[in-house]
């Protein structure tokens, strides 16, 4: 009850409930004493009912908050407040059972009230079991009004085996319990105060039995405990008891406060420092915290810093104590250990610097000096610290003058606290939250009767702003959403596609080849290569090896994944974008239809087609042959150095000349009445008299072939040519002569020296025994020469690459240059008409030039695989032939039309074989047509001359 105010509704309620509580306590007492049969009937009046009803009528919602002042209820008098706020009240008397202190019992202490003492701990053993009521079982019963307790542990040590026992019974009005610990065995606090104005602050209620009358308040902070206790005291005030002061204990505390206490007549005050002795090891951390906080609330403004320091000390001190206790007795029995702990330093609250330089730390209660421990010198202590691995756990306690070693658990605790975690190892900060209130089932009423706020009914302004922000972001495209693929009718109308695209023509990629039987998973067995073939594949080059080797699987389910699937797909893709595409028309025709339609060979007869005669007699390869113009004789020169004349139709050898050197070339004079022979061998050209004509002719020939004296030559040719008289005439050149050719008139004779370069071609005039060089400069190495059959002055020279036509009379540069495009010309022949020329080459090609048409070949035929040795035109028939080192001779039909618009007709007619094909020989070396008949002579390297007839 607030003494400053008159009775309020709350007070009435409190009174009523206290009355009820008293009644109940009374009844409980009777029950305990076993006299219920006698007393209870007497008590069964309507008093309790009436009180209950009144209570029900006078229903006050509990929203009482006591007026407070500086953290204390307003009714606590300022003097008392100061007393409580002081950090360490001086004790006036110390009570200890074992007699180590001045008083054995509190009673004694009270009796000797005038002496100074200090109440540290009070415990006794009395419980209901031992024939006393709950009411009387209390260890301490506070009855007088304005009772103040500070730093006292109230404990009933009657033990768990006895029944309910009360540690503290408070029946005093306006009582203050500050930093008190209440509890252990039996109910903690039995509060039956009629005027419940008790203020509990910073106390612990300890209890281990379930039947506590006051809810346990351990591990709660001071204020919380305070509020809690008040709530309890109001709401659970169901017991009433007549106020009956039994024990009044007063401890007069410090002198200076005495008068204050005396003012309030029956005020009682228990003062004492709640030092470590009152603490239990098992609620170490809460104590630790509580202490700190308590100190702070206690300390108020001024002493905060110092208090903190002390709190630290206390903490460590407590810790040590706790560990000691634990070591000796274990957690459960810690209460008893507290009794046995010897009093520690009794210096009191004296600043230590007062004794800084002294040998003692202070005085004990009897005035004796408490000596300091002997200090180690620094070096020793340092060495000691270095040796001791546990040194880091050691702390020096100045107050108690001793070294304290922290246990592992404690250091762990400290570490945890430094980290800001919950200090106790078993404490789970994230324990699942248990919601004790049942929200779902029975909640028919709202929790709060407050009206619904307006904000629930109007749209949120901030939400609207946020929405606008998002809308803008979406419009700007800053926020995007996963869209569905937008597919629509792309080829809706194909009318637009008619317009021609401006781009290049699209060439569609070729389709892949469709698989054949061999790709089947189960191909016919003949498609699978045998083991031998597979082994052969292994030996092949990578490129030649077949890309796909057929395999056979017995069932569909046994087909494995195709390992090249990705690779092939990738190759195809590379082809699609990397390969140049060209549109090609695929020709699906019979290849035979590509062959040109040639006129029938039968219509082009006669032509030589079969071997008719062989002329044998030479021992070496026949290098050159030359039929005479009548067609009766044929001359041949051989590599064995012999020149022979054969009768064409019989094959009889008429004449033989034997020379020392191999014959290169023989040429019969084209004049019919002038049967002489030009033979080229080595560096010489020899004009031979064949002695075939009539006597008259013979005479002329002999006359011609007789050199009176060696002819005088121009100085231009003198160094390269010299004439000699031999069997006929011998013209000696400065280089080997490879080719000789007669002018159609039979007077001029051209000789070619391949190695002679610019002086390689000379022309001899037989009638005047003269020699002349070409009047023009020549390029390249000469191969062979020709006199034009119709034009007198026209002279044709074939060099290795080209053919040049000169007019000797005009002495000009070449009037025509024929570009053959061949690699190396080997021979040349001119059509008797004079406009067409064939050129044979060493790469097996033959070119037909139409000199009127172009300087390029009209036709190039690649008919021989090897060098062409010679080519020849027939003088009257439309035939020409080529012979080659591959031992064959080709006969062509080569018709030249007099109509200039018409191109010459070239038809291959026959391939003439028959000469030895052995590789040591060099095939057919020369071929010549018969002058009148469509016959062909071929001279083979196998020393045989053959005549092919139609």
């Amino acid at each position: 009850m607030d003494p400053n105010v008159k009775c309020s509704k709350t007070d009435a309620q409190t009174w009523l409930s206290t009355a009820l509580t008293n009644l109940d306590t009374c009844r409980a007492g009777f029950l305990d004493l076993g006299v219920k049969d006698m007393v209870l009937p007497l008590m069964s009046n309507n008093v309790s009912n009436l009180i209950c009803n009144t209570l029900a009528i006078n229903k006050v919602p509990f929203n009482y908050t006591p007026p407070e002042k500086d953290g204390f209820p307003s009714w606590v008098r300022p003097g008392d407040r100061k007393l409580l706020q002081s950090s360490t009240p001086r004790d006036n008397a110390v009570v200890a059972k074992d007699g180590s202190c001045n008083f054995r019992t509190i009673k004694d202490a009270i009796n000797a009230a005038s002496g100074s003492g200090r109440e540290n701990n009070y415990s006794g053993s009395r419980s209901v079991g031992g024939e006393s009521t709950t009411f009387n079982s209390a260890t301490v019963a506070a009855v007088g009004d304005a009772f103040i307790a500070r730093g006292i542990t109230f404990r009933n040590t009657a033990g768990a085996n006895n029944e309910q026992a009360v540690a503290l019974r408070s029946g005093s009005d306006l009582s203050v319990f500050y930093q008190c610990s209440i509890g252990e065995y039996g109910s903690g606090c039995f509060d039956f105060t009629a005027v419940h104005m008790a203020w509990f602050s910073g106390q612990r209620l300890q209890e281990q039995t379930s039947g506590s009358l006051l809810a346990p308040m351990t591990k709660k902070k001071g204020e919380a405990a305070n509020e809690e206790s008040k709530k309890k005291s109001v709401s659970s005030a169901v017991k009433s008891q007549k106020e009956k002061p039994v024990v009044a204990k007063e401890v007069r505390s410090s002198k200076e406060e005495e008068d204050l206490l005396l003012d309030s007549g029956d005020d009682s005050y228990y003062g004492g420092d709640s030092l470590s002795g009152s603490l239990n090891s098992d609620d170490f951390e809460s104590d630790f915290f509580d202490d700190g906080s308590d100190r702070e609330t206690e300390g108020g403004d001024g002493e905060a810093s110092e208090d903190e320091l002390i709190a630290c000390h206390d903490g460590s001190d407590d810790g040590e104590d706790g560990s000691d206790d634990e070591g000796s007795e274990g957690r459960e029995e810690s209460d008893s250990s507290e009794d046995e702990v010897a009093p520690r330093n009794t210096v009191g609250d004296v600043p230590l610097e007062w004794y800084k330089d002294e040998k003692h730390i202070g005085y004990d209660i009897t005035g004796k000096k408490i000596t300091k421990k002997e200090k180690q010198d620094k070096l020793d202590s340092f060495l000691a610290t270095m040796d001791d691995s546990k040194n880091w756990r050691k702390i020096y306690d100045e107050y108690n003058d001793e070294e304290v070693e922290l246990t592992k658990e404690e250091s762990k605790l400290i570490r945890k606290m430094l980290k800001g975690e919950a200090p106790h190892a078993d404490f789970d900060p994230y324990a699942p939250y248990v919601d004790w209130f049942n929200w779902d089932d029975d909640a028919i009423h709202p929790l709060s009767s407050a009206p619904e706020p307006k904000r629930r009914f109007i749209p949120s302004k901030w939400e609207a702003k946020k929405v606008v922000k998002y809308v803008r972001a979406i419009r700007k495209g800053l926020i995007k959403f996963e869209e569905e693929p937008n597919v629509y009718l792309l080829w809706g109308d194909d009318s637009a596609s008619d317009q021609k695209s401006k781009h290049l023509t699209y060439i569609p990629p070729p389709k892949l080849k469709l698989p054949g039987h061999e790709e089947s998973y189960n191909p016919p067995s003949e498609f699978i290569p045998t083991e031998k073939e597979k082994a052969a594949y292994e030996l092949m080059y990578e490129e030649d090896r077949p890309k796909f080797i057929p395999k056979r699987f017995t069932s569909l389910r046994s087909i494995p994944a195709y390992e090249n699937a990705l690779k092939e797909s990738s190759d195809r893709c590379s082809d699609l974008y990397l390969c140049p595409r060209v549109r090609k028309t695929r020709i699906n025709i019979d290849p035979e239809s590509l062959k040109p339609k040639l006129p029938s060979r039968k219509d082009l007869k006669p032509y030589p087609n079969s071997c008719y005669l062989e002329y044998k007699g030479h021992t070496g390869a026949v290098t050159s042959i030359s039929p005479d113009c009548s067609g009766q004789w044929i001359a041949s020169g051989s590599a064995d150095g012999s020149v022979r004349i054969w009768e064409v139709e019989t094959g009889r050898c008429l004449k033989v000349w034997q020379f020392k050197e191999p014959v290169k070339c023989v040429a019969w004079n084209p004049l019919p009445d002038f049967p002489i022979l030009a033979v080229a061998m080595g560096q010489d050209v020899i004009i031979l008299n064949t002695e075939l004509g009539t006597d008259e002719e013979q005479q002329r020939i002999e006359e011609l072939l007789r050199l009176g004296s060696l002819p005088e030559l121009d100085e231009s040719v003198a160094p390269i040519v010299s004439w000699h008289q031999d069997e006929g005439i011998k013209i000696r050149h400065f280089k080997n002569v490879s080719f000789v050719d007669w002018h159609p008139k039979g007077d001029y004779l051209s000789a070619v020296m391949s190695a002679g370069e610019t002086r390689g071609v000379v022309i001899h005039q037989l009638s005047v025994h003269k020699t002349q060089r070409l009047p023009i400069k020549m390029r390249g190495l000469p191969v062979c020469t020709l006199f034009h059959p119709n034009h007198r002055g026209m002279f044709i020279i074939a060099t290795k690459k080209n053919v040049r036509v000169f007019n000797l009379q005009k002495k000009e540069l070449a009037i025509k240059k024929l570009q053959t495009g061949l690699r190396e010309i080997s021979s040349m022949a001119i059509h008797p008409g004079g406009d067409n020329l064939i050129v044979g080459s060493k790469e097996g090609k033959m070119c037909w030039f139409d000199m009127d048409l172009s300087s390029r070949p009209y036709k190039t035929l690649k008919n021989h695989p090897k060098d062409i040795r010679n080519v020849a035109f027939h003088r009257s028939y439309p035939l020409f032939a080529s012979c080659s080192e591959d031992s064959t001779a080709y006969v062509f039909h080569g018709k030249v039309y007099s109509d200039l618009n018409e191109n010459p007709l070239i038809v291959p007619l026959e391939i003439l074989r028959g000469h030895s094909t052995s590789s040591s020989n060099r095939g057919v070396l020369d071929c010549k047509f018969h002058p009148r008949q469509p016959w062909l002579f071929t001279a083979g390297a196998d020393s045989v001359i053959k005549l092919y007839c139609h």
Binding site: L478, P485, V487, L489, L490, W491, D494, S497, S501, H503, P508, P509, L512, L514, P515, H517, E519, S520, Y521, N522, P523, P524, E526, F527, K551, L556, R557, I559, P560, A561, Y562, N564, A565, L566, K567, S569, S570, R572, C573, L576, Y577, L578, C579, P580, R581, V582, I587, L594, K595, L598, S610, Y612, K862, V907, P908, L909, R913, G914, S916, V944
Partner: protein
């Protein structure tokens, strides 16, 4: 090089002005090679072969017009934009601002390819013509595992799968499938759409493996284009059937069922409306048959499969009964009145595609099947095991190859050779023209005879009920047997005649040969035992070769190439024949 700007000294015309090498192109476009590749791939630009390679043979040449076409491509700008944007992201990442980087990546600029598709394929036919590669690729990627390393996302694989199933559903429903070939590489399908033959390859449904020698960047660029192309083509195809695209399938079954039902009802109604006129004279029985079929289809719809099954799509698309050519009709009715049941181990996806395409009704072992294994009306049970467990007498147990062979032959083949546990006859490629190839495998002959038999002996197959289904087959088979015997006899006779003829010819040749010899050597003094006289074959070859002399070089080359090809072909045929002979000799 743009047309309006020509640096001094550069050619005005000719190959040098018309073509540029790739590096020139890169320079003028100011892009890197990767970007250029991507552009070329999506634009369909390929190198061209100039007549004269001005810069040398080892260069790739692009036409100037193609390059300027690329230059004006809006996509080029877009790619550049993306590139710069990615730099922004990179910057954020470098500053450890992951949040910003993530945010930026969500807002990346995107591009679309639809315009390019229209540009490259102005008409639908054009697109269909080039569809082979597209389908093969999409089908391949539909079975690939998604891979982080290769940048292949799960989403794309799923998309490929969806697209391929949509395509198959359309083909199956319109009965456009023509040929199927099971090869080692996969299964080839050929469909005919708007006169275009479209062939594609689907890999076997086995986990594919990644190989290291593949450039996935290029592949994925192609795939990107192909995905878009196939989506548009599918849209067009579904549109032509009046079916909504994309089909709503991928959500839960229950959620879909109503939708599908409504859709199928709608399709049914529209298709019935269309077909009323031509079907006026159709008998009521066929009508009821149709009804029953549609009912069944509905039943199948109700038991929808998970969306990944192609079967789920099959029933979406209604029959396209507008104009059907002869072939489509035969394809449609090939498996009519046959009911198939697929065993667990057969390739279900393929058969679920093929069987409905040829008019069969199909169910399978597993969840969502339209009917169960114990259904009495099942006529064929497809099984790929060495032996079947419990066998129903009312149905035939055949290997899956039978279906593919039937499809290719277009007749119901006798099942004797394909029964469970037997080694099936060889599976032949339907893409080969045996006559042109020069070698006809035995089984191809057999099939040909069976086909002829089926054509001649017109058996009223469709009208026959199920109970006497065995009989017509037996009948058919008997007919076939008699016909084969006949054919065999004719063949032997022909062979005999040929032999006789050959003998006569040889005789004649011998006689003439002697004559020739006599003619050729009338008065030759026989020399040193040398073969001076060319034999007849040599002469023949000479006369054959003679005209080739007169051919132009180009033609000659062509001729030679063709000859070489022919020779190769004939050689391979010879080899096969030889092998066959050897095998026969071994047996």
């Amino acid at each position: 090089m743009p047309k309006h700007y020509r640096p001094a000294g550069k050619k005005k015309e000719g190959n040098a002005a018309r073509y540029m090498t790739r590096s020139q192109a890169l320079k003028s476009l100011q892009v890197n090679l990767n970007l250029f590749r991507r552009l070329c791939i999506v634009k369909g630009i390929f190198p061209r072969e100039p007549k004269k390679k001005v810069k040398g043979n080892h260069h790739t040449y692009y036409h100037v017009k193609d390059i300027s076409f690329l230059q004006h491509e809006p996509l080029l700008e877009k790619f550049r934009e993306i590139k710069t944007y990615l730099k922004k992201v990179q910057k954020a990442k470098a500053k450890k601002n992951e949040e910003l980087a993530r945010l930026l990546l969500t807002r990346q600029p995107t591009y679309k390819l639809d315009r390019l598709i229209r540009e490259r394929y102005p008409t639908f036919i054009d697109a269909l013509r080039d569809l082979d590669d597209c389908l093969t690729m999409v089908h391949l990627f539909a079975v690939l595992p998604a891979s982080d390393r290769e940048n292949l996302e799960v989403k794309r694989v799923h998309n490929c799968r969806r697209l391929s199933h949509e395509w198959q559903a359309y083909i199956s429903r319109t009965h456009a499938l023509r040929k199927v070939f099971v090869s080692v590489k996969g299964i080839y399908y050929q469909a005919e759409l708007e006169g275009q033959k479209i062939t594609w390859l689907t890999p076997h449904a086995i986990q594919q493996v990644f190989t290291n020698d593949v450039d996935f960047g290029v592949l994925l660029t192609f795939l990107e284009f192909y995905e878009t192309l196939l989506a548009f083509i599918n849209f067009k195809l579904y549109h032509s059937l009046n079916v909504k695209y994309p089909p709503i399938l991928d959500s839960r079954l229950e959620a879909l069922a109503a939708d599908l039902y409504a859709l199928s009802r709608y399709i049914d109604a529209s298709s019935r409306g269309m077909t009323v006129e031509p079907k006026v004279d159709a008998s009521s029985s066929s009508q009821s048959n149709d009804r029953a079929e549609s009912e069944l289809r509905l039943a199948q719809l109700q038991h929808q499969l998970p969306s990944s099954e192609p079967g789920a799509l099959m029933h979406l698309v209604a029959d396209k009964e507008v104009e059907e050519d002869e072939e489509t009709r035969t394809c449609k009715s090939l498996f009519k009145d046959l009911k198939f049941f697929l065993s667990r181990e057969v390739p279900r996806e393929s058969l679920l595609f093929v069987l409905p395409a040829f008019g069969g009704i199909v169910s399978w072992e597993g969840e969502g099947a339209p009917f169960n294994e114990d259904d009495d009306s099942i006529t064929h049970h497809i099984i790929d095991k060495p032996s079947a467990g419990h066998m129903y007498l009312s149905r035939e147990y055949v290997q899956p190859q039978w279906i593919y062979d039937c499809v290719n032959a277009r007749i119901i083949l006798p099942t004797e050779k394909y029964l469970v546990g037997r080694v099936p006859p060889p599976h032949l490629s339907p893409f080969v023209d045996n006559e042109a190839e020069g070698y006809v495998p035995d089984y191809a002959e057999t099939i040909k005879r069976l086909q002829a038999a089926a054509r001649n002996d017109v058996l009223p197959l469709p009208g026959v009920g199920k109970e006497d289904l065995e009989d017509p087959q037996n009948l058919l088979y008997a007919g076939v047997m008699s016909r084969t015997e006949e054919a065999e006899a004719a063949k032997t006779k022909k062979k005999m005649a040929e032999l006789e003829k050959q003998y006569h010819e040889e005789l004649k040749k011998e006689v003439t040969g002697i004559e020739v010899d006599e003619e050729a050597t009338p008065m030759v003094e026989e020399g040193e035992g040398e073969e001076s006289v060319p034999d007849a074959s040599q002469i023949e070859q000479d006369t054959a070769d003679m005209p080739t002399l007169m051919m132009s070089r180009k033609k000659k080359k062509l001729y030679e190439a063709m000859k070489m090809g022919q020779k190769k072909k004939s050689e391979s045929v010879e080899r096969i024949k030889q092998r066959k002979k050897n095998l026969k000799a071994d047996q």
